[in-house]
């Protein structure tokens, strides 16, 4: 009798240990330096930015995604997931109603939303990377949160290899062989990306020189300065290939015809979603810039098609 009792107790203990092994308490530091306590793996996730949504999908965790933003449009399957607001306006009530185990906030999530959700007992993990390396770290962290650590490591490794392949091929270039690139987000006024932006990193890693590397962040540039700097290449952002007002400006404005880039036909449209989201597609964005900056080394760039 006693032996049976001990046996049963042992069995219960085994079961307890096994389950405890499934959910483990972890503490992770997010991109705002907050220590977030989570019990991974989490099975109900809300994403508050398009890049977070892309990361979750890329890691194959989409079945856990219960809420996204109205800006999340990639991959197309996101359309079916419930919307909890846009990037800057978050419907806290709906977030709570979806009963998430973690909310993945982004760089544009208002800090007061983060605080309110925390107060309501919902763990918030902020992904706000500032360079490609931090994007890779964030992918690792999301993989840990979702309990797919291994998959995350493999993905990051593959991304690193692709980046390495690009930087290796341009490493032998001399400074004179690096064309100056002006990246334009909007034309009226000329709105451009200086140091400390992902665009700057793409241009540099693709073997170019940012024409506004003396400026920091997103800045409005005096139109005269575009002529004074006279870059070899101009990249112009468009949303989904449909809205290309700024691109048209560079092609049709008479004054700009004397610019080296316009003269040589080196004005390129780039998809804004692709180059502005710090998610798993940063590698794609980088190779796109590589094709634009050095078509003689990489394939020739094909701009996004009109819808």
């Amino acid at each position: 009798m006693r032996r049976v009792l001990w046996g049963a107790l042992g069995l219960v203990w085994c079961i307890l240990v096994t389950f405890a092994g499934f959910t483990q308490e972890i503490v992770l530091q997010d991109d705002w330096g907050r220590e977030v306590k989570l019990s991974a793996p989490l099975r109900r996730i809300i994403s508050l930015s398009p890049s977070n949504t892309e990361i979750v999908f890329a890691l194959g965790m989409e079945e856990f995604l219960v809420g996204v933003t109205s800006y999340c449009n990639y991959p197309p399957q996101t359309q079916k997931i419930e919307k909890v607001g846009n990037v800057t306006e978050v419907d806290v009530e709906r977030v709570v109603a979806l009963n998430p185990e973690v909310v993945l906030a982004g760089s544009l999530t208002p800090p007061e939303v983060v605080e309110r959700l925390e107060k309501l007992g919902i763990p918030v993990f902020v992904l706000d990377p500032h360079n490609i390396e931090e994007v890779l770290e964030d992918i690792d962290k999301v993989a840990i949160i979702g309990g797919v650590e291994k998959r995350g490591q493999e993905m990051v490794q593959a991304m690193r290899a692709k980046i390495q392949a690009i930087t290796d091929r341009i490493s032998s270039l001399s400074e004179e062989e690096k064309p100056r690139v002006l990246h334009v987000l909007w034309h009226d006024p000329i709105w451009t990306a200086g140091k400390g932006t992902f665009i700057d990193e793409f241009i540099v890693k693709a073997g170019g020189v940012n024409a506004v590397s003396d400026l920091t962040g997103y800045v409005i540039l005096d139109l005269e300065e575009v002529f004074r700097r006279n870059p070899e290449i101009i990249t112009v952002v468009t949303s989904h290939g449909a809205e290309k007002v700024s691109y048209e400006f560079f092609l049709t404005d008479e004054r700009l015809k004397v610019l080296r880039a316009v003269e040589a036909g080196k004005v390129f449209m780039v998809d804004s979603d692709l180059v502005s989201r710090p998610g798993p597609r940063v590698v794609e964005a980088l190779s796109l810039f590589a094709q634009i900056v050095h078509p003689e080394i990489f394939d020739v760039y094909v701009p996004p098609q009109e819808e």
Partner: protein, 337 residues
């Protein structure tokens, strides 16, 4: 004590000469300002354009010069519109946007931006101009009571309409999503990138509006004595009001269409001139036009210089300088009472 007519005229001519000289000097100076500094060479390249490289010629003659001209015209148009409306309303707090022209223009621009309608670089100015003119017309109709236009009703109609349209502008911003920056930049008011195309767009309304407004000086002087007295002096008050509103709206709408909302120039410049003793509209209107041009030219030159190569919206510059200056003028006037 009243100065003699001739002495007053002579004084005005002297002041006019001074202001015209100041304007020409400012234009030549501003033409030399670029890249965060001043260059004599650029100023005098105006008189010898053939020696320049293609890039320099484009910068000096297709970017800087038309922008200077736009600044002078827009500043002049706003100040002239402000002076005429202040005289007509007999109220020094009126600015040229009082008919809701600025919010109408902004809404027009926002509609173009959010809907994605695009048929060339003049799309947004055209929408803004239409929005401004339509709004002025609606306010004008709303302000009309039994075929007369009582000024209080018109003012209140303008304010209410402005608020109503602002709500739609906010709605447009909310719905704009990734296009939000366009609206933000536009409403800040800037002369960035303005070229000969924009000069051509505004030149026609200016050629009509400015001389016609100048022709109303006698009537505006009569308004100074109050509407009833003006009526008894033989001025067809209601008719004059209608024409003035029409020309000012046309002028200000074309300004806003190419520059966005630039504040305080239209409010402060006529004020300043009145404080300098220029009450007579025969002098006030032309001087407002010229001084307004000088003021906006300097503000814009500052806007493209202080943070060079980064550029500030000129609307921010005029408001930062204009608002404290306006308060100063008010305080000074109060002390004199």
């Amino acid at each position: 004590m009243y100065m003699s007519h001739r002495r007053k005229n002579r004084q005005f001519l002297r002041l006019l000469g001074l202001v015209v000289g100041g304007l020409l000097g400012s234009i030549v100076f501003a033409q030399g300002v670029g890249g965060g500094g001043y260059s004599w060479h650029d100023s005098f390249a105006l008189f010898s354009p053939s020696t320049l490289s293609t890039i320099d010629r484009t910068i000096l003659f297709h970017i800087r010069l038309p922008r200077i001209i736009i600044a002078v015209l827009v500043g002049g148009g706003l100040a002239l519109g402000g002076a005429a409306l202040q005289g007509m309303f007999h109220n020094p707090l009126v600015d040229p946007y009082v008919l809701g022209v600025s919010s109408g223009a902004a809404l027009g621009a926002v509609v173009a931006m959010v809907s994605g309608i695009y048929f060339g670089l003049f799309t947004i100015p055209l929408f803004a101009f239409s929005g401004a003119v339509c709004t002025a017309f609606v306010v004008f109709r709303l302000g009309m009571v039994a075929k007369r236009i009582p000024l209080e009703t018109l003012l209140l109609a303008g304010v209410a309409m402005g608020m109503f349209l602002s709500a739609f502008i906010s709605l447009g911003m909310f719905l704009a999503g990734e296009d939000l920056h366009q609206i933000v930049f536009w409403t800040m008011g800037g002369l960035w990138g303005r070229g000969w195309m924009e000069v051509r767009m505004v030149v026609f309304p200016f050629l009509i509006g400015v001389p016609l407004l100048f022709s109303f000086t006698r009537e505006l002087n009569a308004f100074l004595l109050g509407e009833k007295v003006a009526q008894s002096l033989g001025v067809d008050v209601e008719k004059v009001k209608k024409w003035l509103l029409l020309f000012v709206s046309l002028l200000v709408a074309s300004c806003v269409a190419v520059s966005g909302v630039i504040g305080f120039v239209g409010l402060v410049v006529p004020h300043l001139l009145r404080l300098l003793g220029c009450e007579d509209h025969r002098f006030l209107l032309p001087l407002s036009f010229l001084v307004g041009g000088v003021v906006l030219l300097w503000a814009d030159t500052l806007a493209r210089t202080i943070l060079n190569p980064v550029e500030l919206p000129v609307g921010i510059v005029t408001s930062i300088i204009g608002a404290p200056f306006f308060i100063y003028l008010l305080r000074r006037k109060k002390r004199e009472w």
